[in-house]
Symmetry: C2
Subunit: 417 residues, 2 copies
């Protein structure tokens, strides 16, 4: 049994949001121009699954996740595009919760009325992952190690089962089914989101017509598995971690902050960090680190402070579970990658970043080559396409530089073959 509830906090704020949204909709019936100039508004909704069985066979009661949508579901529910989010992200993919918000969802440059993923045409939906990193973000609803286990009244901690991309997909499927949806025009995801997109197409091929894998991977190869481990290690070393048994107020924040420093660094590229360094005068010897082994260089302090401020809304155990979900990723969750890719019956567009240091472009290139070969073998007419992102941001070109492929994306989504 599943049920959908509106978030019951910030009621007045949501009311204002809703009024603004309705006004927007009314105006938009006269002209699309108004749509383009007004902010796209959305609201977080809550989906509850009474009993959820994880891929590894564990049972979770009262799984709750947040979701949000942009655009209108059409009559035959055939215009759905699912957006699957990245490691540090959540379902806030586009728009604002309130016209006064400073920030928009992460892919606002390509999702909205008249944009690459056109909300005048598509019903775009996104769902918070299980074990979402930003547990303490009031706009995130998730279930993970920090959640109270209804059986014990205590946080799950490490008793929470290991979850996989298939579990994320199954939670999304439950949200979609609760809306009567049974097919997806497309699944579009960046990074960890790309893993969910490809897993959707492999696990539920009849559902999925198109996949867009941005800065993505179809499996965590050995290199990626050990690289991801680097994000888990500082948390486990922090004496406050206590094998996962900590409270919100005694979280291992030093370990979590270190982990976020590592994530930010590898998700960027020297070109960008060196631009920041130049602003901090990182071209002369610095006195403090020269004279005190415990003093940081200015660029290290910059990276640390950025990570520490982001860590405030996050949970360290959740990070460990997301690392594991990524490490375990293998399209189809079977005995081989070929087996998983063979199941796919969709058009696929790969968009890696040329200077990505986290999921290097060989991931997309190899998957592209392998999928084309498999399609040829089974005489499939599906399109397998490839395009490359440029820019100084490395992996993050897939989030912040995605607009350079707005046309590639809109054309891929529009083709009927």
């Amino acid at each position: 049994m599943k049920q959908i509830e509106y978030m019951n906090f910030r009621v007045m704020w949501l009311l204002r949001c809703s009024i603004a949204f309705v006004i927007c909709l009314l105006l938009s019936s006269f002209t699309n121009l108004v749509y383009a100039e007004s902010p796209l508004l959305t609201q977080k909704q809550r989906h509850v699954i009474d009993t959820f069985t994880t891929y590894n066979g564990a049972t979770l009661k009262q799984v709750q996740v947040g979701w949000e949508s942009y655009g209108q579901l059409n009559a035959d529910k055939s215009n759905v595009i699912l957006i699957t989010h990245y490691f540090t992200g959540n379902s806030h993919a586009a728009g604002k919760y309130h016209p006064d918000n400073t920030n928009t969802g992460y892919w606002d440059s390509i999702i909205g009325p008249g944009k690459a993923i056109d909300t005048n045409q598509y019903f775009v939906i996104s769902v918070d992952s299980l074990a979402n990193l930003s547990v303490y973000d009031p706009n995130v609803i998730t279930t993970g190690p920090a959640t109270i286990n209804p059986d014990t009244g205590m946080a799950y901690g490490l008793t929470f089962p290991v979850v996989t991309m298939r579990d994320f997909v199954n939670v999304q499927k439950s949200v979609l089914e609760s809306l009567g949806i049974q097919q997806l025009h497309a699944v579009v995801g960046a990074s960890m989101g790309s893993m969910q997109a490809i897993e959707w197409a492999s696990a539920y091929p009849k559902w999925v017509n198109n996949i867009i894998s941005i800065i993505g991977s179809v499996h965590s190869d050995a290199w990626t598995t050990t690289a991801l481990e680097q994000w888990a290690i500082p948390i486990k070393l922090d004496p406050l971690w206590q094998q996962g048994n900590y409270t919100k107020d005694s979280r291992p924040m030093a370990g979590l902050t270190a982990s976020l420093m590592f994530i930010t660094q590898i998700a960027l590229h020297p070109e960008y960090i060196n631009q920041v360094g130049a602003e901090l005068s990182h071209f002369a010897l610095e006195d403090k680190p020269l004279n005190n082994i415990l003093s940081d260089h200015a660029i290290t302090a910059w990276l640390h402070d950025r990570a520490a401020s982001r860590a405030a809304m996050m949970d360290p155990n959740h990070l460990l579970y997301l690392v594991r979900a990524c490490q375990l990723f293998l399209t189809g969750h079977g005995q081989s990658l070929t087996e998983g890719l063979m199941n796919i019956d969709a058009n696929v567009l790969f968009i890696p970043a040329n200077n990505d240091l986290l999921l290097m472009p060989y991931h997309a290139r190899d998957a592209y080559t392998q999928l084309r070969k498999l399609n040829a073998e089974k005489s499939s007419s599906h399109r397998i396409q490839y395009a490359t992102l440029n820019g100084p941001l490395g992996h993050l070109n897939g989030i912040l530089g995605i607009n350079q492929h707005a046309q590639t994306i809109s054309q891929f989504l529009a083709r009927k073959d």
Copy 2:
């Protein structure tokens, strides 16, 4: 006042070494062929500096370092090549201590009789760095945080002053001067060793005729400074670190092991780690990490075990000091890189690895371009050359794959202009 002493431990073993060495030398007087077939033998020697002033102005008493050499110093002491070692290395650059040793020095493929750095022609010498990582390797002699401070009778810990590449160079200069040497045909170093090579040429331009910078850098840019910080962080997070106050038996080994895992990963390349992964069947879902958040993937365990075994001979505080020395690196230690490079009055050969992820090839390429420009401006006739290493090992191609440029190196060293 300086003095040289023979290591006073393992006396019998050294005696056997020395006898073997003498026999080798005698044989070599008849034919070079015998040299090429017999192992190159060497022995660690000890150099003591009674009072050493660090670059940042601190005073250290009784600084001791190890050094070793290969080949013979000629009459006018003009045939000296100094080898400066990398982060996890020491002065054992070539040869064996005893014919029965399984391993040779790290660059044995290019240092030896008839090899690229020909010990029939050159007197090749290398010196253990200050704060050398492998304090508990019986073949390393170093002074650093783990050393007993003669003033207190306690280990220095974090009271040891921050040291820089200039300090490493000054210690080497002291060793050379104790042998009556006042000029260097070449300084050749990989990675952190390349920093010392270029620092030599900038700080003491009259000494240095040729520089070979392998997988190197002429400064720690902002990216490199934060990347290096990743190696320090796990040690500082380990509860056993205690702000550097620990004993040999209570070292923060978990943090040190994590740091070495990070170093190994970034010093390699996906191509190699994925080869190892294939041997470990890293292409199917693994049951243990799927079912237990605390279980590692086989590839993670491989990387961990490799690091843990190396950590046994190392000191965590020393690692922090080496990280800092690298982070602070700026050729010439002045106010700008241009100022430091301008001082150089030597031929320079850069040999980066094409797929280096630690000191990416842009380091060598940019330095090459800048040095050529500066040389043109001052009408210098010095040669500035560039060659690239290939292979699956990333940064480590500079150590394990160096032999592919044996001829480039020997020709560079042989030219008289």
